[in-house]
């Protein structure tokens, strides 16, 4: 399934870019092995629980990416990055999720630019809560790329469209 019929970036291509970027970031910067289990296409974003880092892409194409995980995984990722045990979501954990979002979606942006031309990456916004909706201002299909670490799932949602 293509994101848009008049573009050259398919859902599969976008998911592959996200998979490569996230696995590399986790291996190099977090020191945790992750695997990508699947990707699925959605017409719209759903409500989220946990911690979500959001970043937009702008240029001749516009898009957005959301890094989404539950509280426990956010604390685990924060603990690994900060080198201290973190038991609950605090400012440092949110900062860590922001950095993860920035690095993963920065790598995605770089890979996309080979097809889209130059894109600007926004500043990450991190939200923590339950049953909240996000509206990054993108109106094409969303690709949910799922990942797993020791049986726990998290995901990166991405969407991109030509202006």
């Amino acid at each position: 399934m293509a994101l848009q019929t008049d573009t050259e970036i398919t859902s599969e291509q976008l998911a592959e870019i996200v998979q490569v970027s996230a696995i590399q970031v986790f291996e190099m910067m977090v020191g945790l092995p992750i695997t990508s289990t699947k990707w699925t296409v959605h017409d719209d974003l759903r409500a989220f629980d946990g911690v979500v880092g959001m970043i937009t892409f702008t240029g001749d194409w516009i898009g957005a990416g959301l890094f989404c995980c539950d509280e426990e995984l956010a604390c685990l990722f924060g603990s690994k990055m900060l080198m201290v045990e973190v038991a609950q979501v605090d400012a440092d954990v949110l900062d860590g999720v922001g950095e993860l979002s920035n690095m993963i979606l920065g790598s995605v942006k770089e890979a996309l630019e080979k097809r889209t031309g130059p894109l600007a990456l926004g500043i990450p916004t991190v939200v923590y809560g339950k049953n909240f909706m996000a509206r990054p201002g993108v109106h094409s299909a969303w690709i949910e790329t799922s990942f797993e670490h020791e049986g726990r799932e998290f995901a990166v949602w991405t969407s991109i469209q030509a202006v």
Binding site: M83, D95, P118
Partner: protein
């Protein structure tokens, strides 16, 4: 003999990751690590401290990495080499940073080995 390092980044997490990578990979001990949240705070801290090398993010609020390089050029606070760390290193930004005296670039995500290589080159 160890070296003193300054890490300039608005993310406390990224400052920790840079420090951890340096301690893992660099052959000499890291004696002291000074942290700053932006270029302005870095300039202030450099007035009272001596460092051998500075690692700086580019995209930061207030005084960003490029403005920090400009301030360093105009001030006698430090002649330590500056290595830029960035998620996105557009050609224009890289050129501007090099013209302003940056001695190296590291793209995030990075490995401790890449960090060590950039540090060794900058201190050579």
């Amino acid at each position: 003999m160890g070296i003193n390092v300054m890490i300039v980044d608005d993310s406390s997490v990224m400052r920790k990751i840079v420090e951890r990578s340096l301690r893992q990979a660099y052959k000499d001990p890291i004696d002291e690590v000074l942290e700053a949240g932006d270029g302005g705070e870095a300039i202030e801290k450099l007035q009272a401290a001596s460092v051998n090398v500075i690692f700086s993010d580019i995209n930061m609020p207030n005084v960003n990495g490029i403005e920090f390089l400009k301030k360093l050029q105009d001030s006698p606070q430090s002649d330590a080499p500056v290595i830029m760390i960035t998620t996105e290193g557009g050609e224009q930004t890289v050129l501007e940073a090099i013209q302003l005296g940056a001695k190296g670039f590291i793209r995030k995500p990075f490995t401790p080995v890449q960090m060590e290589a950039a540090l060794t080159k900058a201190l050579a």
